[in-house]
Point group: C2
Chain length 260, copies 2
Amino acid sequence: MRWMRFEIDGNISYGIVDGDAVKAVDGNPFEGYQETGKRHAISDVKLLIPVVPKTFYAAGLNYVAHVEEQARLHGREINLPKKADVGYRANNALIAHGETIILPKDVTEKVEYEAELVVVIGKKAKNITEAEALDYVLGYTIGNDLSERSWQKEDRTLWRAKNTDTFSPMGPWIDTDAKLKDMETIVSVNGEEKIRFETNKMLYSVEHYMSTISRYIEIQPGDVLWMGTEGDSPNLKHGDVVEIEITGIGTLSNPIVKKN
Amino acid sequence: MRWMRFEIDGNISYGIVDGDAVKAVDGNPFEGYQETGKRHAISDVKLLIPVVPKTFYAAGLNYVAHVEEQARLHGREINLPKKADVGYRANNALIAHGETIILPKDVTEKVEYEAELVVVIGKKAKNITEAEALDYVLGYTIGNDLSERSWQKEDRTLWRAKNTDTFSPMGPWIDTDAKLKDMETIVSVNGEEKIRFETNKMLYSVEHYMSTISRYIEIQPGDVLWMGTEGDSPNLKHGDVVEIEITGIGTLSNPIVKKN
């Protein structure tokens, strides 16, 4: 099943994707729903981010080649994370599939994508084991953790580098059937493939992150956990379109515009 | 004016503090409201956090003696921040005035308070100057940025050290009349005063942080900005009660319980 969140005629609701259409529901996938009987062509509705997260967790450094690349970029030694220490991102930066990534006029040329699997939590979880973790997942979507690497290097925190408005595209929908082991992440810029990796080949697994977090924090329905990215990115510029596909989920596509 | 958020008979609403009572309103201080005519004794209602933040910003290192103390603790050189780089905290950790701070059983003895002024944003703000920043503030409340210093030192991020459930008491209400220049922060543990400092004697001012953030991010009504803390804290333990007063706002008080 695929859950979309959308707007039509000024009303926001959830719906279930059915081919090229969406079947509207009252309620939501977290607390319960029923179909309204209304059906819209997806091309007639405005897609929204599939959930407004209660808490927006980000796994950060979680793939080997990406850690090596970041160490080189920042002139540090390569240190693979010794533990699953999660970070946070800010809701202000979230935009939906198809919306425009707007680069402030003072960005440098070092703007990069980070293609990430996004875990959407379905049920409250406290002190869960790795074996049971996936029972608490509603489904998966896709995130692009846009990063301005000069700011990432200069600033004490990631606030500008990763949380500038529009820097966190997420979507297009939540897929509840996709399986971690079958996923492959493919990133294209302007239709040209740039990288392809096994999504689940992480340093610390989804299950491990969830179990670890839940020792100290009750994870909530609607929380999202971005799982980090692999490899490197070319510099992105005005006019580019970034597409991130994860097999079994779909494709998140966003154009880039730089402000004058 | 003082804005409370509270629950009575299972209903959550905002209200205006009037002596020992609260006058309930329909709506909220951000989008508009009208008084309902209902009035409750404050002792009869359950206080809630005064706002569920859209984005929860934290200024971090923003007072001289605190920066020095943290440098000593982590064995680093003293480096005053060269810029106003904001960080983030997570909503899961928020609790209201009077609610219990729960320490997980594996905390070390190094649990400390951080007494912070909290700025509550009232209006959307993008590209604002320092001179106009305070026009976008609804009012002020108080935050306690509880910190487990061993975890802060060990982990790659602050997720456990500062965002464990119940580690971010905030309240008791939002005061819209308090003036930055008149504020003094006083922290007591079990009734004994531990520190007192001029709240507004910051490295980077409220106005400067807001102006800086707004260059990259449209600040939203309901966002909160925690302004950092001064000095040091004794180790806190099971049974302690931490009270943070900021003159002109009120007092945030929370007991501490350690899990067995």
